[in-house]
């Protein structure tokens, strides 16, 4: 079978398996949404009586008594229609609406930060790996230190120093809330100003991994026979670096990039929490604590699609970059 076709059908199956897991996991959670919602109301100081409970059970549909397979079938049917259901914690808002208001923030912030970190890290890694032993090698321990620092710890310290003490950046939020989000200069400038610290945190914390991975692969690749051959042929070092060494060494990094992009959405939970950033991470966290099955599933679904999509893309690219992979099929 054609390599690409095979990959596509494979991803279709993977998607189905992931969707099924998405269905199963939230149903294994303890507690039920009505009780959780009521408990939240109590926390807000509202009196909760048996009547209140009855009213909300009616409102939210409460515990459904349908057998599991009926629920499962409905779930798949609704997904096919693009209907992710209604969020309990934001009732009566639709899950898709809730996610769509948050998604752009996460995608832009973490996406941009990840791309910056990956490009910088791979480039630096290639250089360091190409000429090991130069002063550049000392970059590695320092970036490793940064990579080993807990995200939120680094973020909190950055916030404390750069925002609190020095006052260079805003403490929290995604933009100056008196502005209107849209394609206007003022808003974009504000979004960049507010996004700088979160992005800096992500870049600082993740660049070390890229750098190290690329450097290690580069060093390994450099001792391959074809590099020696290339040197023996008298090819210029630049050509060897670009056409022979980097091209081969970057392969695992490309695979890594797909995975990182897939985790853009879920991995941003903590960063967003520290900066009160208006992204999807906060929504996921809220959904988990509120037993908001539909919203959780919706967020799951987006993460699933992101990961599978990114991986499919990389697999297809892989087939193009590395003909050996394709040959097998």
């Amino acid at each position: 079978m054609n390599y690409f076709l095979r990959k596509l059908s494979f991803y279709a199956v993977a998607l189905w398996a992931a969707l099924t897991l998405n269905f199963a996991i939230p149903r294994l959670l303890p507690g039920n949404p009505v009780d959780i919602l009521l408990a939240k109301l109590q926390q807000r100081g509202e009196a909760v009586t048996p009547e209140t409970r009855k009213a909300y059970a009616l409102l939210l549909g409460g515990d459904t008594s349908d057998p599991l397979w009926v629920q499962y079938w409905d779930y798949l049917k609704n997904l096919a229609r693009g209907d992710l259901g209604v969020s309990v914690s934001y009732y009566p808002a639709k899950v898709s609406d809730v996610i769509l208001t948050s998604l752009p923030w996460t995608v832009v912030l973490v996406g941009v930060a990840t791309i910056i970190a990956a490009v910088l890290g791979v480039l630096l890694g290639a250089i360091v790996g190409w000429r090991p032993g130069t002063w550049l090698d000392s970059l590695i321990p320092s970036t490793t230190l940064l990579a080993a620092v807990p995200y939120f710890w680094l973020a909190l310290i950055l916030v404390y120093l750069l925002a609190r003490v020095l006052g260079w950046f805003p403490l929290q939020g995604g933009y100056d809330v008196v502005l209107t989000p849209g394609w206007n200069g003022e808003f974009i400038a504000s979004a960049i100003q507010y996004g700088f610290l979160p992005a800096l945190t992500i870049v600082l914390a993740s660049i070390g991994g890229w750098l190290l991975g690329m450097r290690n692969m580069m060093v390994s690749t450099l001792s391959e026979d074809y590099i020696l051959t290339a040197e023996a042929k008298g090819l210029s070092p630049r050509k060897i670096l670009r056409s022979y060494a980097s091209r081969n060494a970057v392969l695992p990094s490309v695979a890594g990039f797909a995975i990182s992009l897939g985790f853009v959405v879920s991995g941003s939970v903590i960063t967003e929490q520290v900066f009160s950033y208006p992204g999807i991470g906060g929504r996921l966290l809220g959904a988990v604590t509120n037993n908001d099955y539909a919203l959780m599933q919706g967020v799951f679904l987006f993460i699933t699609l992101a990961v599978l999509g990114a991986n499919l893309l990389v697999d297809l690219l892989y087939g193009l970059i590395d003909p050996r992979t394709r040959a097998r099929a």
Binding site: F10, Y11, A14, A17, A18, L21, I25, L29, P132, G133, D137, S138, I140, P141, T144, L145, A147, A148, V149, P150, Y151, F152, W153, L156, I157, G209, L212, G213, N216, V219, S220, L222, S223, E231, A232, P237, L251, P252, A255, G256, I259, G262, S266, V269, I270, Q273, L284, L285, V288, M296, V299, F300, I303, V307, L308, N311, R324, T325, A327, R328
Partner: protein, 337 residues
């Protein structure tokens, strides 16, 4: 860099004359890492922190002991000061370090075994099995870890909850990425002639994997293990920060969580907030530094390259001393070879 520490000259000098004969006497000796300053620092960090985690809990007092004195800076009695409830930060740090190390080790081992099995074996066998394993890997890649933690903790009996649960969950949600990396690498290695040759010559699959493929993957596996350990400790810290961590046990993550909730940073209580984070960062750094050196041992090409480099530099110096125009390193390398 090379002259930072005299100790490192000995093994190199020892290795130099023996270099041509190295393949003959390889054996276990070549498995000992060459001492470099980075390795020394790395070993010192990892060793020191592991020792601290093992021994310190026996020496310090009860970390939960509450005292009326409240938040106090480091003093003779409390070397790292106290928390807002008068708990000894040093004692907490000791127990927390031990907890985090346990999680790191558990997750590192579990995740590496899982990823090696699914990544290498699948890619080696190819065909249906590979597809099945890849499918499995991909499915695990997309499970968001956070809710899974809650699911599992809801089913595990309370007595065994906490550290182990979190470790298993982190391993189960964390192996897939490195399995993919290993998978990709294996695919590449598998195409090589010597692998094909040993297959044709009728070697059993497990032997081909262990003898022909695994050595090529060892640096990757080693770095995956190191990263699994670091990722586990970081992951646990992150989960704890948002309140979903190993709730009933002391880890660096839960310690940071309490510090954060006690407004340690805002109150200027650096002695409470900085040590746990720094401990994680230093341990991670130490492991990575060790990893560089392990890479060289497992993959002799790396070591040769380093020795090459050193000789090239020596030659270069010689050339300079002879006041000759400096020439490209590559040329020197070639004459060296």
């Amino acid at each position: 860099m090379t002259n930072l520490k005299p100790a490192n000259t000995t093994p190199v000098a020892d290795a130099d004359p023996a270099a041509p004969a190295a393949p003959a006497r390889s054996g276990w000796r070549s498995l000992l890492p060459t001492m470099t300053p980075w390795l020394a620092i790395g070993l010192a960090l990892v060793g020191g922190i592991v020792l601290f985690g093992l021994i310190a809990p026996l020496l310090v007092g009860d970390p939960r002991q509450i005292r009326d004195q409240g938040l106090t800076p480091p003093s003779a009695e409390f070397w790292l000061g106290t928390t807002q409830t008068g708990q000894d930060v040093l004692a907490q740090l000791a127990f927390a370090t031990r907890g985090s190390l346990q999680i790191g080790l558990l997750v590192g081992v579990l995740a590496t075994v899982l990823s090696a099995f699914f990544g290498i074996y699948g890619a080696y066998r190819g065909k249906f099995l590979d597809d099945a394993f890849s499918l499995f890997t991909n499915v695990f890649l997309v499970i968001p870890g956070l809710p899974l933690v809650i699911v599992i903790s809801g089913f595990v009996p309370r007595e065994s909850r906490g550290l182990w649960t979190i470790a298993v969950v982190l391993a189960v949600t964390g192996w897939a990425a490195s399995a993919r990396v290993l998978h990709a690498q294996t695919l590449s290695v598998r195409q090589r002639d010597y692998v094909a040759a040993s297959q044709v010559s009728g070697e059993r699959p497990w032997r081909v994997i262990v003898v022909e493929i695994l050595p090529n993957l060892l640096p990757v596996i080693a770095s995956q293990f190191v990263f699994a350990v670091i990722a586990a400790i970081l992951g646990e810290a992150g989960l704890s920060y948002i309140g979903l961590g190993a709730s009933n046990s002391a880890t660096l993550g839960t310690m940071l969580f309490y510090a954060q909730n006690g407004f340690a940073l805002s109150l200027g209580a650096w002695w409470w907030f900085v040590p746990p984070g720094l401990m994680i960062a230093l341990f991670g750094t130490g492991l990575s530094l060790v990893n560089f050196s392990i890479d060289e041992v497992i993959n002799p090409k790396l070591k040769n390259l380093r020795q090459h480099r050193r000789r090239a530099r020596r030659a270069l110096r010689l050339e300079r001393e002879l006041a000759r125009a400096s020439r490209r390193t590559a040329a020197v390398k070639e004459t060296d070879r």
